[in-house]
Amino acid sequence: MTSRVVDAVVSLLLLALAALLAFDNWRTGMGWDSTGPQAGYFPFYLSVILGAACLYGLVKEFVARKQPSGEFVTREQLGRVLQVFFPTLVFCLATQWLGLYVASFLLVAGFMIYVGRIAAWKSLLTALLFVLAMFVVFDIAFDVIMPKGPLEAFFGR
């Protein structure tokens, strides 16, 4: 997939978003009433501007379609990006059920072991120290409360 194709796809998606938002704001009211512009006035015209800029971009890419364009991402690069994106996704899911601290431990340790190929004991120790440090800084020192799960409940925090 070339950068031009991605560029065009993003423009199309944004164009659809612009149309959706324009419709929603038109429904809210994009005109004027006795107090001045209605709630949808400002965003409606912004959606129009957004849509126009996307159209311009699409036309521009279409006109230049014969010219060479770089690869958006190689297969190898995409693999590496997914190597970090996928664990992040799992981490977000795990945060919901296990709480942030347990999920963080799993993310750091797992990433170091499987992606970084670092010795298991080093990875587990680093992850443990990191999570403890985060807990002390946020939960104890600065009173910033994070999502917690069964483990924290077990320790009564």
Binding site: V10, L14, W32, T35, I49, V84, L100, L107, I118, S123
Partner: protein, 501 residues
């Protein structure tokens, strides 16, 4: 001088053990963030912002701005030792800094970079000290039309002066302004663009977007490029520092020129990146030996570093005086102000003297202390870069998630952060600039409010934006900037057709 008296008052505000300790913590964290690839000024400040939520505003801003100074210093370490710019504005520093390191003169290059950063910031802070109060008191007379005109000018100057393709800047900005409008409308109380989702009632938080756009997407990009870190070791001795300092006065013209460029570009949104390149290029052009640039010339480090820091610092001037950030990081600091319950804008100078002058005083102190810290601890921070990226990457992800969650205690925001991370990754790859988006997202509501208030006041007459000399000038200037690409293209065509013109 009134400003000097107030500055002294600011120093008095700072002189508590708690604030001094927070300053040190901020600086060290900032250098750390600046050194790590994949993190930098704006994301560092955004991720560490939650630490300050429970503090009083003055301690909070002092710590955050010190993180910012630290990140500015830290960026130079990676550029010079590893040829990896930690920040976009450190790119120009690698041109001569890395060759110097290769020639075994890493310590000289680092000393030069740190000292010239210090000088650049100092000039900019002095500018803030003496200009900001005046601008703020002038701006106190602004009504909604004037404010809207200034916001409009800010947006237009991004379109007119940015280096990116114009339609992409417009896309980025319109999207930012639209997302800023999601949620409850502040004037009428109506709901907009929420599509029945309860999570969207509060709107899309600016900081969540920033953490995703800069933090998560940067990790994805760094993984994609697979940085191989091969650096040079460096320890700075007092002898080297003194030698570089003795050499500096010879380059006073370069330092002065870069400071002026930096201050100018910092105040107008355009930013540190342009400033550092411009500082470097001008130093090269005016040099009597331009060919030696790029091969390890110390002047090639002085010029971009001075300009980048002068601009990074002076970007805070419009933020303090008018409530309009001059850079991405300034925009995040502005977001912080709102979280701590302060209303950014010219009234800050009247209502929160201790906050404003404490911040300004902390800029002086933070830069001096920062300079000492970086000069003495370079080997330590260079060692950070030898820690494998596969250990650092997940920790950055966790810090981002903590930051995103802490802002409103909402799990939804962690998901939003992830979405913005992917969006930021794709946008960066296809050249849609993120800075206009950030600025639009943070200023969107206030720009809209001032527009609607002016319209209500004027009964819907657009001529209110030309109703007096001041607002008329600003609006006209904004329109010229917006249309500048068209004007300059037309002028170029005329010239091509008629070379005598």
């Amino acid at each position: 001088m009134e400003a000097l008296g107030l500055l002294l008052y600011g120093f008095k505000v700072l002189m508590t053990w708690k604030i001094l300790a927070l300053m040190m913590v901020g600086l060290v964290l900032g250098i750390f963030v600046g050194v790590l690839p994949g993190l930098g000024g704006p994301n560092g400040v955004a991720i560490l912002l939650p630490l300050t939520f429970t503090m009083d505003p003055t301690s909070a801003i002092v710590m955050l701005s010190c993180i910012y100074w630290g990140a500015l210093f830290g960026g130079a370490i990676t550029s010079i030792l590893f040829n990896i710019p930690g920040e976009a504005w450190s790119v120009a520093t690698t041109f001569d800094g890395y060759p110097m390191a290769q020639q075994g003169k890493a310590a000289e290059a680092l000393t030069a970079a740190f000292t010239s950063s210090f000088i650049g910031s100092l000039v900019a802070v002095m500018l803030i000290t003496f200009l900001a109060p005046g601008i703020a008191s002038f701006a106190l007379r602004f009504g909604p039309p004037e404010f809207f005109a200034v916001y409009f000018l800010t947006f237009c100057s991004f379109v007119g002066l940015g280096r990116e393709e114009k339609h992409k800047t417009i896309i980025s900005m319109a999207l930012g302004l639209l997302l800023a409008g999601v949620g409850m409308d502040t004037v009428s109380g109506q709901l907009r663009m929420t599509f029945g989702l309860n999570e969207l009632l509060r709107g899309i938080n600016f900081l969540v977007a920033v953490i995703g756009l800069f933090g998560i997407s940067e990790i994805l990009l760094t993984m994609e490029e697979r940085l191989a870190l091969r650096g040079h070791a460096a320890a700075i001795s007092l002898r080297v520092v003194l030698r570089v300092w003795m050499e500096m006065p010879r380059y006073w013209v370069t330092l002065l020129r870069s400071s002026v460029i930096g201050c100018w570009l910092g105040i107008t949104p355009g930013g540190a990146i342009a400033a550092s390149f411009m500082g470097y290029n001008l130093a090269k052009r005016f040099s009597n030996d331009p060919a030696s640039f790029g091969k390890g010339r110390i002047e090639g480090v002085f010029a971009p570093e001075t300009a980048a820091h002068a601009s990074g610092t002076s970007a805070l001037l419009p933020m303090l005086a008018l409530g309009i950030p001059g850079s991405g990081t300034a925009a995040i600091l502005l977001g912080g102000l709102m979280v701590w319950g302060l209303n950014p804008g010219p009234l800050l100078f009247v209502e929160h003297k201790d906050f404003v002058w404490g911040l300004i005083a902390s800029m002086y102190l933070g830069n001096v202390v920062g300079l000492i810290i970086v000069l003495t601890t370079v080997p330590l921070f260079a060692a950070v870069l030898r820690v494998p990226f596969s250990a650092i990457a997940p920790m950055i992800v966790v810090s981002c998630a903590i930051g995103a969650f802490a802002i409103q205690n909402a799990m939804f925001d962690i998901w939003l952060m992830l979405v913005f991370g992917v969006v930021g990754y794709v946008f960066k790859k296809i050249g849609i600039p993120l800075a206009p988006f950030t600025l639009a997202l943070v200023l969107g509501n206030r720009a809209e409010d001032s527009f609607r208030l002016s319209m209500i006041g004027a009964g819907g007459d657009l001529r209110v934006f030309w109703s007096n000399g001041l607002v008329g000038t600003i609006t006209t200037l904004a329109l010229i900037l917006l249309l500048w690409p068209l004007i300059s293209a037309a002028a170029a065509r005329m010239k091509a057709r008629n070379p005598l013109l």
